[in-house]
Subunit: 436 residues, 2 copies
Amino acid sequence: MPVFLNTQDAGFEEAFLLLLSAKREDSPDVDETVAGIIADVRARGDEAVLELTAKFDRLELTADQMAFTPEEVDRYCAQVSDEERSALELAADRIRAYHERQLPKDDSWTDDAGATLGWRWTPVSAAGLYVPGGLASYPSSVLMNAIPAKVAGVGRLAITVPTPDGVVNPLVLLAAKLAGVDEIYRIGGAQAVAALAYGTKTIAPVDKITGPGNAFVAAAKRRVFGKVGIDMIAGPSEILVIADKDNNPDWIALDLLSQAEHDESAQSILITDDAAFGQSVAEAVEKRLETLDRRAIAGASWRDFGAIITVDSLDQAATLSDRIAPEHLELCVADPDALSDKITHAGAIFLGQYTPEAIGDYVGGPNHVLPTARSARFSSGLSVMDFVKRTTLARMTPAALRAIGPAAECLADSESLQAHGLSVTARLKSLNERDA
Amino acid sequence: MPVFLNTQDAGFEEAFLLLLSAKREDSPDVDETVAGIIADVRARGDEAVLELTAKFDRLELTADQMAFTPEEVDRYCAQVSDEERSALELAADRIRAYHERQLPKDDSWTDDAGATLGWRWTPVSAAGLYVPGGLASYPSSVLMNAIPAKVAGVGRLAITVPTPDGVVNPLVLLAAKLAGVDEIYRIGGAQAVAALAYGTKTIAPVDKITGPGNAFVAAAKRRVFGKVGIDMIAGPSEILVIADKDNNPDWIALDLLSQAEHDESAQSILITDDAAFGQSVAEAVEKRLETLDRRAIAGASWRDFGAIITVDSLDQAATLSDRIAPEHLELCVADPDALSDKITHAGAIFLGQYTPEAIGDYVGGPNHVLPTARSARFSSGLSVMDFVKRTTLARMTPAALRAIGPAAECLADSESLQAHGLSVTARLKSLNERDA
């Protein structure tokens, strides 16, 4: 059973804080192992990657078999059914259309002092995308990572996807192809992250690595951060549904379960202003749970981390929601836009009862890589912005330097940075002599 | 003497790679110490912070003395000269004007399927800014960190600035006041970072921490990352100047020295298409070095990490520059805009001979917190974007769900996420029954 809370209960605040701080994930300490793998790949390159692939993925490869050839990719893609291909194409088109609107704009202007200022955005030259193998090998995640990179203009996009025992997911390859991925390597784990970051004879190094992975992959990403850029380190998935009584309890139950089925550490929370409705949802969850193939996982998540919170008003729901700062937030209420305006911290908001969060996972358009573990307080989901960087621009005329240079000299002096000041002074002196 | 390279030399590529990979900083391993300090502050709050402040800053405080009172701030600010105050005000105004143009825009649209999509930006609620004490206590850095946060709309901005032996830098307090900082605490080190991240009785926790610091501060920021957001971990400063022969060697020498004087680990590189001009700059550096108060620091940086590279053409200069991906790039050439267009990776570009990098450090307008250590390949300088986050929005109508829902069902099925699919199926079924 999930926890039932009511803001009118005496112990509410304490119980809510407990819910907020529940430690849902035990990260095994693999840092030392990962450090060894990275050092090995840096020292021995391909050779180390191939040995580790044989060991962990039970797959013997030669260096020239690491990458899928275009012919291999086509052969696997041909195994995908027409229905699945169409669905992936629709998803790719919608994700691309959404992300194309995110491209940031350059700017340039000349101000009163005569200084021309501005900035310019350029894409990361090369990016690497980690795709997990096995059960969590999701073609939708390939689209969600690769399309923003390609929309940003990343010239070279490489994917690593382990194929344990040689088992390949054709949908992952098709998603990569639809997204315009340039290179696909059948390697995984910390060794794949190390190869992308430092390069080997076969794999050229990249500048940025994104994508989900297990504890080894996460530890490797943390370690190579600085040498390359990385995206966030994602925690287990979460959903918060705010629903009034005018909802179908079964729909809300399925939305809660669609997070719970991801992972035993996932968290699903319902906030409602009607206690009886909350009870109906709880019953609907139990009923649906019995029918799910993944009922062991979903049931454990719901039992250990699920919650149904009854509030006095939707305003109160918004306040609690901001304290949770959920990754996914569904607003199943009569006026979802009005409620949405009261929310400050959320990765993604799904408005109204016809927008189940699963739509956002696949075909809505917005990215499904979103900030977990309350980090929506300070970070955003994956976007085109993760694959571009800004160069600021400044150009002074002699007149502009005269106007603002003396202030720079003064501040350099106050910070005891003499050469800073002199670099301005020498120019101003020369300008003054020229005028004299 | 710095290293002299020429792209026509046989060993150039090897020597250039050596320059690129030079390890300029030995990070002392303080991680264990820092972990202990953070745990102590989490466990004992104010009490731990006060003890550590007494120990490291030789300053005995009570909890209610941790924050500067408004009266204290005013008293210190009154010590600042009119000239310095005016210079700080000019800097603050220009930095604010530049950053106000960075505010990102919300978007919302309805597509062909009838889905209303978009996103919304909101500020981080509370941010903390670490300001170093002692020699590296720069009021300009206070402006560069605090103004983007306030432009973004951060509601609560707290500064921590250690005051070893009780010595206060009035300019830091004035910069904080001009930037609109809300709270100023006279604490520093890992204990200040821990207090900002986890909160104490006196200091409420923040959501994001930015600002430079020593090895202890950097290690603490790495450790609290995840609990709060952080900005980059900055390395030692760098400048690359590309200059043709029509420049005053003395000006260029001063620009190179204005990085070198920061730190023995700083790096200054000149690329020129005229070997004789490079020689003149080298001589001018030696001459100026003799006159600098910080000649020991600047001289060590120039000797150990400085370089003068002669190239065949400015195109070749641009290519080398992108391989360096410099933090600061000065283009002192006849047509700096044309050369700038050939550059992809740089934190900030200063165009033309009247734009010494020092202008950018203080009064130009763009931020001086910039990506170091080749990270301009994948990251940007500090900006308003570091203090906002995006919430994506999606709203389906029944018609939109009918149009794109089946593709979501198909993909959920192919990923074996049954509840995901059912959350769409249940709604579509109900819509179809309603129509029947």
